[in-house]
């Protein structure tokens, strides 16, 4: 097939001249028209026509062959999170599609824009229990923002336009399009691609009610101890600057959720740290002391709030969110400000008075001092010979100067990385927050590197999570992708072990996990690496990893039974945060 030049297609006159394309070609043309340059995927029977068409699109569309569909969707998520664009993943019907489910659920709860395209059996075979047939649309309904099955090729351009529009606008989320094989093969008159910008039943942005902005500003202006807590909404809304201007004018301390991390530079004087179960001492304790709590683009997850009936009861709560269903969902608010924070924050900034709240800010500093004394100093500068996760992150900070994209897996290393990693710019912390998907880290780092090719990407992964998606080393091998893999090995499923130690009388039930020789495994994939367990080798080893041309795996043996503190135990109030 000759590659078709469809650039002219966008003009009105050219649109009348329809070209005969197959459904598969239309899928690829649609992706290109949406500005997609990278697709992650895995071929199979029911998606073969799309892969056949892909053969001719090699120069326009980069396809990354992953080793498992779960890796494919996590890579698409990582790509979306580091680039701010929509991630795309291809999978075949049946097992290919069901392997996407974890990633879809992860993208759903973490509001990540992803379009998944799955092959499906021929339309005439639907419902016959055909080979590799599963009811993908129904399986994925609870974990997608929208999904749709295409059985006729003529629907493809419009359905994909709608898919990208829905995935990327409003509160973003995953969209799955299931395309039957006959629709992929079918030829039809393609009249060019028209981007979607309106769906009748879908309101991506609620209308801003100025009176609520005024009410919120009044509360903030009257506040003696205002406290801002923010989440990923700031990043998704590309409102980092607007947010910074707002807190600077209002002079409020600001603390972040795990997904909000990197929206505000780590060294910003008003950045008081992390919220939630393993967050910082001050932000947790003082949530129950502030008089006005301003929540921006976050959803009051239970890991953030702790016990709800003892959460910020003394405070008047203002909640800015683009998703109306979030307001009053977990926490009753005094003022709900619906809208895109890119728009609501400047309106609010205009109305708030310039303040400094120095004394109140000092309270956070005091808490920080106490936390440093009790927890942080020992974690970052341990007095024993055994390495801690925290000191690895500290050394990494010193070498990257906070410029790297940090991708983490799930568990203790994740909490430590979020607590201690430093960031200068947004979209730099990529982690599975809401779903807590072990195995997310490695494939997400692959996607993150494709999404931000000019940045250093470091995947920080535990020994447990690494073994969940270790096959993606194959993807790194084949693409020669420059991803740095930092395994923090404590020879345990550490977070579960920590809970078993604290709450189950040290009954260590199935957390003692054996690991392969990760360095040797990496070597098998042609990836260089080394393993260290001594402090005096740490900095050099990290430097070697960062300087290495191409992928590198560094395994650091850390303390087996170290715990992450502070901790708000489950069922406790944020003010019951434990330092040890």
């Amino acid at each position: 097939m000759d590659t078709i030049d469809l650039t002219k297609e966008k003009t009105a006159e050219a649109k009348k001249e329809a070209i005969s394309l197959s459904g598969s070609q239309a899928v690829l043309e649609s992706l290109i028209a949406e500005g997609i340059d990278t697709v992650f995927g895995y071929p199979g029977g029911a998606i073969m026509p799309i892969y056949d068409a892909l053969y001719d699109y090699n120069d326009k569309l980069k396809h990354i062959l992953v080793r498992h569909e779960q890796g494919g969707i996590h890579a698409a998520q990582g790509y979306a999170r580091s680039s701010g664009k929509v991630g795309v993943v291809f999978a075949t019907s049946g097992p290919g599609a069901t392997n996407l489910v974890t990633g879809l659920a992860d993208a759903m709860i973490d509001s990540t824009p992803v379009v998944a395209i799955t092959g499906q059996v021929f339309a005439h075979l639907l419902g016959t229990d055909a080979f590799q047939e599963t009811d993908v649309v129904n399986i994925t309904t609870p974990v997608t923002k929208w999904n749709y099955q295409v059985t006729d090729a003529t629907e493809i351009p419009a359905v994909l336009a709608k898919a990208f529009y829905i995935a990327g606008t409003g509160r973003p989320g995953p969209v799955l399009i299931d395309i039957t094989k006959n629709a992929q093969i079918q030829k039809f008159d393609y009249e060019g691609y028209q981007k979607c910008n309106h769906v009748r039943s879908y309101r991506p942005k609620p209308i801003i009610r100025k009176e609520y902005i005024a009410e919120a500003a009044k509360l903030i202006n009257e506040a003696k101890k205002p406290f801002v807590i923010f989440g990923q909404g700031v990043i998704l809304g590309k409102a980092e600057q607007e947010f910074k201007t707002f807190i600077e004018k209002a002079g409020t301390p600001a603390a972040w959720t795990v997904l909000g991390l990197s929206a505000l530079p780590s060294d910003h004087p008003l950045n008081v740290g992390m919220l939630g179960m393993h967050g910082n001492y001050g932000p947790n304790l003082l949530t129950n002391e502030c008089d006005v709590l301003v929540a921006v683009g976050m959803r009051f997850d239970d890991r953030v709030t702790g016990r709800l009936d003892k959460y910020a009861k003394q405070a008047k709560i203002i909640h800015l969110d683009i998703d109306p269903a979030e307001i009053d969902k977990n926490v009753k608010v005094a003022v709900g400000v619906w809208g895109d924070c890119k728009e609501t924050l400047p309106l609010l900034t205009k109305l708030v008075e310039t303040r400094s709240h120095a004394e109140w800010l000092e309270r956070f500093r005091e808490c920080d001092k106490e936390e440093t004394k009790e927890v942080i100093f020992e974690e970052l500068h341990p007095s024993t010979d055994i390495l801690t996760m925290g000191e690895v992150i500290r050394n990494l900070n010193e070498l990257t100067n906070g410029n790297a994209v940090i991708v983490t897996d799930v568990g203790q290393h994740q909490m430590v990385a979020c607590r201690y990693a430093k960031f200068n710019q947004s979209k730099s912390n990529i982690t599975s927050g809401g779903l807590g998907t072990m195995g997310f880290g490695l494939p997400a780092a692959i996607g993150a590197k494709f999404g931000a090719p000019n940045r250093t990407v470091v995947a920080i992964i535990g020994d447990g999570g690494m073994q969940m998606t270790i096959q993606e080393l194959g993807t790194i091998m084949q693409t020669k992708l420059d991803v740095k893999i930092l395994i923090l090995n404590n020879q345990f499923l550490g977070m579960v072990r920590q809970w078993q130690q604290l709450f189950n009388d040290r009954r260590y039930s199935f957390v003692d996990i054996a690991s392969p020789d990760f360095v040797m495994v990496a070597k098998g994939y042609g990836i260089d690496g080394q393993k260290i367990a001594e402090r005096d080798k740490l900095k050099d080893a990290l430097q070697t990893m960062l300087d290495h041309k191409g992928p590198y795996l560094l395994e650091v043996m850390v303390g087996k039974e170290n715990n992450v503190f502070p901790m708000v135990p489950q069922g406790c109030s944020v003010s019951e945060v434990r330092l040890k």
Partner: protein, 195 residues
């Protein structure tokens, strides 16, 4: 306090939406007492009528989760005081019982039942009304050999509703107008999702 609420949902008429709405209830382990889907007064717009027994707070959250679905235009919820509703019931009774026993005929008359089909072996009656009324007739007919009974889902009209035509025009605008108050619930919690 839990009470009966009727949720009215205006949607696009698309395959798969029923599952999407049903899972909003099932994932929270909330039983749907009655569910009806039908066309609405606005062309091409589908109308779900869902009855559940829950607290107002839960129902409000459910309504917002429903409205969040891409293909849902609007979700309203109302107490029984705010709506007019009906359910239809069908009863199959042996014809000879009715023919022979005057009492049965009187009972049917009392309950406003209407014969739909009369055959030698059985007769099918219908009644329209609230659940208590249709249930009562079941009890009454049981001793006379009630063969089959079925009741429809609730259909309900919101007393204060101005219909969906105007609202639909707003939705069809590419850019929502300034005067459009989307987050009306913020003003008055008690009028949430009513028109």
């Amino acid at each position: 306090m839990k009470q009966e609420f009727t949720i009215t949902v205006y949607t696009e008429n698309h395959i798969g939406l029923l599952v999407r709405i049903a899972t909003i209830f099932s994932r929270r382990k909330i039983n749907i007492e009655s569910l009806n889907t039908s066309p609405s007064e606005a062309e091409g717009i589908h109308r779900f009528t869902i009855v559940i027994e829950e607290t107002e707070e839960v129902v409000r959250k459910l309504a917002r989760q429903i409205e969040k679905q891409v293909e849902v235009l609007k979700a309203y919820y109302n107490t029984n005081e705010e709506i007019v509703w009906q359910e239809l019931a069908l009863y199959k009774v042996p014809t000879d019982e009715i023919a022979e026993k005057v009492k049965v005929e009187r009972l049917l008359r009392e309950h406003g039942a209407r014969a739909v089909v009369i055959r030698k072996d059985y007769t099918i009656f219908e009644t329209v009304g609230h659940r208590e009324e249709t249930d009562k007739l079941v009890k009454v007919l049981e001793p006379y050999g009630l063969i089959e009974f079925v009741r429809s889902a609730r259909v309900a009209i919101i007393k204060s509703s101005k219909g969906f035509h105007e609202k639909l025009k707003e939705f069809e605008q590419t850019e929502p107008g300034e005067e459009l108050v989307e987050n009306e619930f913020l003003d008055k919690q008690d009028q949430v999702f009513t028109m």
